[in-house]
């Protein structure tokens, strides 16, 4: 399958890195934000920062849905299951995210019925095979994940499965980018756009970034060569004074996105007036709730939601890291009180979180090189 391996060939990677060095003007400092957590993870995993000149700074964006979920939503989800006796199901990544009274796994240790599922469709199957239990799926993710939740709800309704519901925490990427650009302490030159989100939403929704904000954005794949090629394309735009939406990942991302997935999302979801993002605060029209037509499967309508609001620990500087103002290791807690084994801040919980990725790769590398 010509899809992955070709984008890891050392020869092409060396060539792309040389082109980056040629295009980067020594007198200029470039700040490029990779929006998505998958890119952050790939940058550290493949050591791509080591291939870049020191005046190209990659700023980590808000694209890890586990990281930006406020702690209060985890408390709400667990409270629903504790009050109602419903089975709490979620992806494995969610299970170690701490709420006020512990994570879903800790809730399981206290006797609650908490189960990991690989897909929302698996949670639906669980409901079909356990008609005496109510299965609640804790939905999280951007536009790549939202279609699978939409499909699950469509199948639940079509199959008349009434012992299943979704606690919806899906968020949308464009308002988050807008919030970052509106942040007064943020200076960015360009964006590396999310690859798989764009498979669903296409390239058109990013056009305002180029036209109104006058910043290049290149939709990128996740292999080392993908990311380096995207940086080459950004540097060429900046050098030529252009600001456009370009698609490096055109082997996967169609300009118009996936119409069938967008149609399903439009049928099942509606925009919330506002939603809280951990580290970024309330952002208007940045998240999805379940449409009234699917009210019978909406956990927020079926059960009483406490609506817990929890302030992050003051010492944790997740917000500054999320906005790219601080590097992960510049947070006061990084690597001491806050580690992947004992996360305090959300960015340390998920492997795609900027702090966890930095800790797993760059931090370890630094420790090795000192020894």
């Amino acid at each position: 399958m010509k899809y992955v391996d070709e984008f890891r060939y050392p020869h092409f990677i060396t060539r792309a890195a040389a082109e980056i060095r040629r295009l980067a003007e020594p007198s200029r400092h470039y700040r490029i934000m990779e929006v998505c957590g998958g890119h952050t993870h790939a940058i550290y995993r493949f050591g791509l920062k080591d291939l870049l000149p020191s005046n190209i700074e990659l700023v980590h964006g808000p694209g890890c849905p586990v990281c930006v979920l406020p702690m209060g939503r985890i408390d709400d989800g667990l409270a629903i299951t504790e009050q109602s006796g419903a089975v709490f199901t979620a992806f494995g990544d969610m299970m170690r995210v701490p709420g006020t009274h512990g994570s879903p796994f800790e809730s399981k240790a206290r006797g609650r019925d908490v189960r990991v599922v690989y897909s929302p469709l698996d949670a639906l199957k669980l409901a079909q095979t356990n008609p005496d239990k109510h299965i609640m799926f804790f939905a999280i993710g951007f536009e790549t994940t939202a279609p699978s939740t939409a499909l699950t709800l469509m199948r639940a309704r079509a199959g008349g499965v009434r012992n299943f519901s979704v606690f919806c925490n899906h968020v949308t990427i464009i308002p988050a980018i807008r919030a970052i650009l509106d942040s007064p302490d943020m200076r960015l030159d360009a964006f590396i756009g999310p690859g798989h989100v764009s498979t669903v939403i296409g390239c058109r929704p990013y056009q305002w970034i180029a036209k109104t904000e006058n910043k290049p954005i290149v939709i990128s794949g996740f292999e080392p060569l993908d990311l380096l090629q995207s940086i080459v394309m950004i540097l060429r735009q900046l050098r030529e004074g252009r600001a456009e939406v370009e698609n490096q990942y055109d082997r996967v991302v169609p300009w118009e996105g996936n119409r069938a997935a967008l149609k399903a999302m439009a049928e099942v979801f509606q925009l919330r007036p506002y939603f809280e993002w951990r580290g970024l605060g309330f952002i208007s029209q940045s998240a999805l709730s379940i449409h009234e037509a699917y009210a019978d499967w909406d956990a927020e309508r079926l059960f009483q939601v406490p609506g817990v609001r929890v302030t992050d620990p003051k010492a944790a500087q997740c917000g500054e890291v999320l906005k790219g103002v601080l590097r992960p290791h510049q947070c006061k807690l990084f690597g001491r009180e806050c580690t992947p084994e004992q996360p305090v801040g959300a960015l340390m919980v998920s492997s795609e979180g900027a702090c966890a990725a930095y800790h797993s790769y760059a931090h370890r590398k630094a420790a090795t090189s000192w020894s």
Partner: protein, 79 residues
């Protein structure tokens, strides 16, 4: 670090991360489900509701058991 996901053709990565998706080749289509194989030869079943034109031999991008797009194999590597 988040629990890493294996199986169903997924490589390592955060399952809920919206940008974790993997390419698979279609072996067989049965209505809205398809049997697919990843590049390591692991087989699984995925929903193809969002890629209704999928045929055996096609490469799909899958996310959490659902195909979200069709991938084009590339012979062109841009430098």
């Amino acid at each position: 670090m988040g629990v890493e996901v294996h199986g169903r053709g997924e490589t390592k990565g955060c399952g809920s991360c919206s940008d974790a998706a993997v390419p698979v080749r279609v072996l067989e289509v049965n209505g809205s489900q398809a049997v697919v194989e990843d590049r390591f030869g692991r087989r699984s079943e995925v929903a193809v509701d969002f890629v209704p034109e999928a045929r055996p031999g096609d490469v799909l991008l899958t996310h959490l058991g659902v195909a979200i797009g069709q991938a084009r194999e590339t012979h062109e590597i841009r430098g």
